[in-house]
C-alpha cells in the first residue's frame, strides 16, 4: 500500500524546487569529476538542457509504449515512466544514453507489473539492430535496478481512479461517471510527462484527474468532494491544495515534443 511503501518513503519530494536542486546537484557532480578548467563553457550540458533532452526522450518513451505489440496495460507505462524519472534524478544524461535507459525501463516495468514479454518479443518492437538492443537491455537491467535503489514497486494512479469511479457511482449517482473516462485517461497521460508523480500521492493524482475530467464535461463535483468524500475540515484544505497544484502543473507544462 502506498502509505507504507518505499515510494512514499524515498521517492516523494516536497516540491518542484527540491527536484530542480537535486538535478542541478547531479549535473554538477558529473561535471566535477572531470575537474575541468573554467573556460570550458559550452562543452557540458547544463541542468536545464538536460531537462529538455529528457523531456524529448519521455515523449519517445510514450510513443514506444503506445505502439508496443502486444498492447501494454497502463500500469506498465506508469511504472516505466517512474523508473525513467527516478533514474535521471540521480544520474546524468551525459553519462547514460537516455535511449538505452528508456528501453530498459520498459522491459523492467513489464517484468514487475507481470506483463509477460520475452526479450525476443520485446526487441521485435525496437527498430534497428535487434541483437544489439537485446544486449543493451540485458546489460543495463541491473544498473537500472540499483539506480532505483531496488525500490521496484511503483504505485500508479490507475487503481485509485477506479476506486473514485466506484465511489461516485455509489454515492453521487447524479453524475454519469463513465463519461469521464476518456478525459481521465487524457489527463493521466499528461501527468506522466510531468514531475507530479514524484511529488504527490497516486490518490491525489487520481482525484485531480477526476475533477479535471468533470470540468471538461461541465459537471460540478465540488459537492462530492466537500460533503461526501471528505468530512474533516483540515483534511479538506490539504486535499484541495494538492489538487489545485497538480492541475496547475499539468496545465502549465508544455506538451509539444521539442524539436531535435
Amino acid at each position: 500500500m502506498f502509505a507504507t511503501s518505499t515510494q512514499k518513503n524515498h521517492w516523494i519530494f516536497s516540491d518542484e524546487e527540491t527536484l530542480i536542486r537535486i538535478r542541478e546537484a547531479t549535473n554538477k557532480a558529473y561535471v566535477d569529476q572531470f575537474r575541468p578548467p573554467e573556460d570550458v563553457g559550452d562543452f557540458f550540458l547544463s541542468a536545464t538542457e538536460e531537462r529538455t533532452l529528457l523531456h524529448f526522450y519521455e515523449y519517445q518513451l510514450k510513443e514506444f509504449c503506445v505502439k508496443f505489440q502486444p498492447t501494454m496495460n497502463k500500469a506498465v507505462i506508469g511504472t516505466a515512466f517512474s523508473y525513467f524519472k527516478r533514474f535521471f534524478l540521480y544520474n546524468s544524461v551525459m553519462d547514460y544514453h537516455p535511449k538505452e535507459i528508456l528501453v530498459t525501463c520498459v522491459y523492467l516495468a513489464c517484468k514487475i507489473e507481470e506483463f509477460n514479454v520475452t526479450i525476443a518479443q520485446f526487441v521485435a518492437n525496437v527498430k534497428g539492430d535487434r541483437e544489439k538492443a537485446q544486449e543493451i537491455i540485458l546489460n543495463n537491467e541491473l544498473l537500472l535496478m540499483s539506480a532505483v535503489k531496488f525500490h521496484l514497486t511503483v504505485h500508479n494512479p490507475y487503481r485509485p481512479v477506479e476506486g473514485f469511479l466506484i465511489d461516485l457511482k455509489t454515492r453521487h449517482p447524479v453524475l454519469e461517471a463513465e463519461n469521464l473516462r476518456p478525459f481521465i485517461d487524457e489527463f493521466l497521460d499528461k501527468v506522466l510527462m510531468t514531475d507530479v508523480p514524484l511529488i504527490y500521492a497516486p490518490s491525489q493524482i487520481a482525484l485531480a484527474s477526476v475533477l479535471e475530467a468533470a470540468r471538461k464535461c461541465r459537471e460540478h463535483l465540488d459537492v462530492y468532494v466537500t460533503s461526501i468524500l471528505i468530512t474533516d475540515e483540515e483534511m479538506l484544505q490539504s486535499v484541495v491544495d494538492a489538487i489545485r497544484t497538480i492541475r496547475l502543473m499539468v496545465r502549465v507544462k508544455n506538451y509539444d515534443p521539442p524539436q531535435p
Binding site: S14, I166, S203
Partner: protein
Amino acid sequence: MGFIQLRLDSVTMDDNLACPRCKTTKYRNPSLKLLVNTCGHALCDNCYLFWRVSGLWDPTPSLRLPSPTLEDPAVEKEVDIRRRVLRDYSKQEADFPSLREYNDYLEQVETIIFNLANNIDIIETNKLIEQYKKENKEQITKSRTRKPTQILLLEAIIEEENRRSELRHMESLHSAKEEKIRKQKNHEALIDDLMFLESDAKAIVESHKATQAHQQVEASEIKPLPSQLGISSLSSSAPQPAYQQATTFTSGIGFGGSASFLPLPKGLGEVPLFVYKAFLLEIGGPPPPSLEQLKYPSSGKEGHLQHIRPATEAEIAGGYHHAIACRRALQDAFMDIAMQPKLLKSRSIQNESESESTTKEEVEMDTS
C-alpha cells in the same frame, strides 16, 4: 518356375551394396542384413519376406537363412553347401582302415563341395551324393544323432567349468558360515570371562583380542581351497574390531555421576517480555469502507459492490470475493489523499545528500 536372375552391383557389405530387388533401401539402412539364398543371391529382409509370400521362385525346401556372418555371398553359399554335405559325408578317421583312404574320402568330399559351389556338373554331383547316401544310409542316420566330436569336446569343457565354479561357491558359503559361528563363540567367551574371572577387565579384553587375531591368521592360512584356483581373496575381509565395552555416551558424556554439569548461570538479568503491538495503518484520508460494510451495506452505503465485476463461482471457491477488490480500489483512492509533500521536506533533503554520495560512488565505479 525359372529363376529370376538378379544382378549384384558389388559384393561387399559397404555402402555400395544394394539389395537387388528393392535397390534403394540400403541407403536408408546401412546395417541392413542381406540373407543369402541357396542359389547364391542375396536378399534383404523385406525382399526375403516378399519372396516367401509370393512364391514366385522355386522355393528350395532346404533353404535355410541363417544370419550371414560372412560378407561375401559366394563364401556364404559355399559354407552352406559344406554344412549340408558334411552332414551326410560324416565319416570319421576311425571309420577308415588307413590314413590314405581317409584322405581320399576327404578329397572326394571337397570335390563335391567345390562342384556344387561353382555350379560345375551339378547334376552329376547330386547323383553322386544320392548314391553315397543310399549306400551309407545306416551310417548316416547313426551319425546324425551322434554329435560331432568337436562339439562333444566343447561340451565337456563347459561342464567342467560349471562344476568348478559351483564348488567354489559352496566353499565360500561354508567358510562364511564358519566365520560367523567363530565370532559368536568368541563374543560369548569374552562375556563369560568378564563375568566370572577375577582378573582385570582390560587384561581379559586384551587377551581375547590376541587370540582372535591369532585365529584369523590361522584361518587365512587354511584358506587355499582344494580347487587350487587361487581364491584366497575370499578370506581377505578386513579384520573385525574386537568387542569394546562402552564407556561413554555417543555424545561424549561419560557414564557416572552428573556432577560434571555446570549449574545454570544465575542473574543474567530480566529480559523484558515481548508485548504484542498491533499494526497501525495511518490512512491519511477519509476511511474507506471495510469488508463487512461493503458486503452488507447499511442503507446509506448501498451497493458499492454493484459497480464492480462480480466474482465468478470458481473465484469464490478459491477464496476471492469482489468485495476484496472493491475495498482495495477504495482504499487506494482514499489513502494519503491529504498528504502534504512539504511536510516531508526534512526527509527529502536527507535523501538528497545520501543519494549524492551514492551517485558519486556509482560514477567512480564506472570510470575506474
